[in-house]
């Protein structure tokens, strides 16, 4: 028998980034006893890395903005595969969620008349992102953390969940371990909110930290929830590329919002050469118009650098492949050029983009006020995730909720910058509210001790094997394989090879062995994270095989065009009765006539 400690909650929240904390605060406000489990320390989740801002149609800088424009921008950015009800709720509720942060102590940058300042970002028609320099995510997570710790919430820092437990059809809690001491813990709960973020660690070049192994998606999948839109993986166009140790670290889109331009090795602003028809009307025709847009000229249209992330990333890949890249396989991002336009440009850049200045200076010996940065795409965000009800955020499993990056629906085929932080707040709140409500209305739960024991024994197996290879090599090989075959540019034959490779990796993962003991043992932790990585990687590859067209973040070299037949459905991934992964198509949810009309008007 393996020993474990038991905790009882009405609502268990897994993950303590923006969505998890917001859900916990709301569930607690709804009277629930709330526990939060987080793989890291409080305040270190990936939310802290978000730089640019929170998208919300406050209309403080341009009063033509309102929720309808934000809704239409989000749908257009997602190539209309978004769940329209989620996009509507998000656009309507984001402003209230931002103001609420201010009431909890967040200090955003201000307009001249003292209101919350908003900045331009890719795909947003008007300046819409509430921000704090380029460290908005830190401001947001700290505000939620500092507010949250006074709401009577139990926080279990440095704990990882291994499996969800069910009582009949409903979710009944989760079982996991304390990373510091290696002890097992059972969390019995009437409702569970998944807020585990993304899957970045399935790729070699990523802006995500070690935590982002797709745990929430994998946990949900294994208890019968449905995953959706798994083929849509966002590669942020601007990650650092040099030196090797910083490859993948994010360079905020805010650099382009402040007037930064992308150039190839010939000095050409290559994005002017390739503007998608859907955005032709909204894009500047010459560099001067683009510059005026970034400086707030309301009559100007946005520069092509602020087109959606999927498009910009693909254009960068093309420039590099065709031999017009920078020395280390990227392109140039230049903000220093604005000294031609502004007196005091260096000071201005340091003020608007302090952490970018710091990051390049310290890690790459580049002074961004004087010279261009070298940048290239980095795996950044997962549009796909757990399929949820738009209003309640509940998955197909009763009592199991999901919010933020690990849920699917809001972003469709491509996410707009800034829509992630607002997603966390809007749907974190909704998930917390409905989870508390669910817990109140339903009775208590029972969990099977046998299941718990079995999970504990499985987790300890890597210590018992003496001959297997270590977990790091399996993880590295998986990352390299996904980068090459399930990356930005995909092909049917390579995707099928990826499935074979994943089967082989699964065999290796089942045989990894680890040394040392259970106390703070990263080798053991890495071994246990492999299961989630393998599950989500397979789901991405299978969904990518199914979508034989190119749309949003999903680009198929063998089907390079958009195919309208594929605009009518989302791709679902489920666990079949035989344990095999099943792929299905689900018709796109119907849009209300009111929303339909908004989209027509904004075309």
């Amino acid at each position: 028998m393996v020993g474990y400690e038991t905790h009882d909650y009405d609502v268990l929240v897994i993950g303590a980034g923006g969505a998890g904390l917001r859900a916990a605060i709301e569930a607690s406000a709804g009277g629930a006893a709330v526990g939060v489990v987080t793989k890291s320390l409080l305040g270190k989740a990936h939310t802290v890395m978000a730089e640019g801002g929170i998208a919300a149609a406050l209309g403080n800088v341009d009063d033509r903005d309102n929720w309808k424009v934000h809704f239409a921008d989000t749908m257009r950015g997602g190539q209309y595969l978004n769940n329209p009800r989620m996009a509507e709720l998000h656009a309507r509720e984001a402003p209230a969620r931002v103001r609420e942060l201010e009431a909890w102590g967040a200090l955003f940058d201000r307009t001249r008349d003292g209101r919350i300042l908003q900045r331009n970002f890719g795909g947003h028609k008007y300046p819409r992102l509430a921000h704090v320099g380029d460290r908005t995510g830190l401001e947001m997570i700290r505000t939620l953390q500092d507010h949250g710790v006074h709401q009577g919430i139990d926080v279990h820092m440095e704990h990882t969940i291994l499996t969800l437990l069910k009582d009949g059809e409903r979710v009944a809690g989760a079982f996991g371990y304390d990373r510091q001491r290696g002890r097992f813990k059972l969390f019995r709960a009437r409702a569970v909110v998944l807020a585990t973020g993304g899957i970045g660690r399935a790729y070699q070049v990523t802006s995500n930290s070690w935590e982002y192994t797709g745990d929430g998606l994998s946990l949900a999948y294994h208890v019968g929830a449905t995953l959706m839109d798994m083929e849509f993986v966002q590669f942020h166009p601007t990650g650092m590329v040099w030196p090797p140790s910083v490859r993948g670290i994010l360079v905020t889109e805010g650099v382009r919002g402040e007037g930064g331009v992308l150039k190839n090795s010939q000095g050409r602003r290559f994005l002017f050469d390739d503007i998608p028809p859907l955005y032709k009307e909204q894009t500047a025709t010459d560099p001067d118009e683009g510059w005026r847009y970034t400086q707030g000229d309301k009559s100007a249209r946005r520069p092509p650098e602020l087109l959606t992330r999927d498009h910009v990333a693909r254009c960068i890949v093309r420039e590099v492949r065709e031999g017009r890249g920078s020395p280390h396989g990227g392109v140039y991002l230049d903000i220093a050029w604005i000294k031609e336009k502004l007196p005091n440009a260096a000071e201005h850049i340091k003020k608007k983009l302090p952490s970018m200045y710091h990051q390049f200076k310290q890690l790459a010996d580049v002074d961004i006020t004087r010279e261009p940065m070298e940048v290239g795409p980095t795996m950044h965000y997962m549009m796909g995730g757990v399929r949820v009800d738009a209003d309640t955020q509940m998955s197909d499993v009763p009592g199991l909720f999901a919010a933020g990056e690990c849920a699917a629906g809001l972003h469709g085929a491509n996410r707009l910058g800034g829509n992630s932080l607002s997603d966390l707040l809007v749907f974190g709140k909704r998930a917390g509210e409905h989870a508390a409500c669910f817990a109140r209305e339903r009775g208590g739960v029972a969990v099977s001790e046998d299941e718990v024991e079995a999970a504990a024994r499985r987790a300890l197996e890597p210590f018992e094997r003496t001959s297997g290879e270590g977990p790091y090599q399996v993880q590295r090989d998986l990352q390299a394989m996904m980068q090459n075959w399930v990356g930005i540019v995909r092909r049917g034959d390579e995707l099928r090879q990826a499935l074979d490779a994943l089967a082989a990796l699964r065999g290796r993962a089942a045989n990894v062995s680890v040394g040392g003991n259970r106390e703070y043992n990263p080798g053991w932790h890495t071994a246990l994270d492999l299961e989630s990585l393998l599950t989500v990687s397979e789901a991405v590859a299978r969904a990518a095989i199914e979508r034989k067209e190119s749309r949003g973040a999903h680009f198929r070299d063998d089907y390079p065009q958009k195919d309208e037949a594929y605009a009518t459905f989302n791709i679902l991934v489920r666990r079949g009765a035989d344990g095999e992964m099943r792929v299905e198509r689900a018709p796109r949810p119907a849009m209300s006539p009111e929303l339909q009309q908004i989209i027509e008007e904004m075309k």
């Binding site: 890291s40 320390l41 409080l42 305040g43 270190k44 989740a45 990936h46 802290v48 890395m49 103001r99 201010e102 009431a103 102590g105 200090l107 955003f108 940058d109 201000r110 008349d113 003292g114 209101r115 919350i116 704090v132 320099g133 460290r135 830190l138 401001e139 700290r142 500092d146 507010h147 710790v149 820092m157 510091q180 930290s209 070690w210 935590e211 040099w242 030196p243 090797p244 140790s245 910083v246 994010l250 952490s355 710091h358 990051q359 310290q362 890690l363 270590g470 977990p471 790091y472 090599q473 590295r476 680890v514 040394g515 040392g516 003991n517 106390e519 703070y520 043992n521 990263p522 080798g523």
Partner: protein
């Protein structure tokens, strides 16, 4: 390929010792890269805490060649590589294992600080108006990434272990951010004087020197708080006034 030697503390609260590792080094490498390389190839169970690897989350604090630093922001090119690079856990906190310390005390202390309490909204729609210059002052403190290096280096905590009487520079910065917040109406000066030990700080500025965010902890946060405490409790005119009231 060039190599470098690393001397890393291995052990737990019971016992431990330095162990040497040799790592191949490449351009631009930081200390955390070397630790990861050792983990992947030589010591799978080497305990280290990290997240963003870009100086934004404050997880990978350690003492490198005796200096409190973030491992992700310390480049090997800044260190003398003729001799081994020593990497030790922070000393002001109990050791969990290897480079990982138990920093939970910081979270517990922070929870005791009176929370933000805003004045009523300025506008009918429930929003406030603030001037950028008022916001700037507090934004400096809100840059803090909670790496706790300032706590680690503060002699009141590090040498005198007064964790029960003194909240340390990080939590003083947090208090300053609240006290100077343009909307806040709470008064934390009594707590600072009576239970949080602001008097223990004797302004040696060690905390400021190690702050990776370059927050002027002593000059901009602690000294102004000390002045406010003095004004509130030790101003002779006020005391006289209190006597006759």
């Amino acid at each position: 390929m060039a190599t470098a030697k690393f001397r890393i503390w291995r052990g737990d609260a019971r016992s431990g010792k330095f162990q040497d590792y040799t790592v191949e080094i490449s351009a631009g490498m930081v200390v955390l890269d070397a630790v990861h390389e050792i983990q992947a190839t030589q010591a799978q169970d080497l305990g280290v805490r990290w997240n963003c690897k870009a100086g934004k989350c404050g997880s990978c604090s350690a003492e490198i060649n005796g200096h409190p630093r973030l491992m992700c922001m310390t480049r090997l090119s800044q260190l003398p590589l003729e001799q081994p690079v020593t990497i030790e856990p922070m000393r002001a906190f109990p050791l969990v294992k290897d480079l990982v310390t138990d920093v939970s005390w910081n979270f517990r202390v922070k929870e005791k600080i009176r929370p933000f309490r805003p004045r009523p909204a300025d506008a009918a729609d429930g929003t406030w108006r603030m001037d950028q210059s008022d916001v700037d002052r507090v934004q400096e403190f809100r840059k803090c990434i909670e790496c706790f290096l300032c706590q680690d280096v503060c002699h009141v905590l590090r040498e005198h272990h007064l964790h029960e009487q003194f909240i340390g520079p990080r939590i003083l910065v947090h208090s300053a951010a609240l006290e100077m917040h343009p909307l806040d109406t709470e008064n934390r000066l009594g707590d600072l004087k009576r239970t949080q030990g602001i008097g223990y700080c004797n302004i040696t500025k060690c905390c400021t020197k190690v702050c990776p965010e370059e927050i002027k902890i002593t000059d901009n946060a602690i000294i102004p708080l000390k002045e406010r405490v003095v004004d509130e409790f030790y101003d002779p005119l006020t005391r006289l006034f209190r006597v006759f009231r």
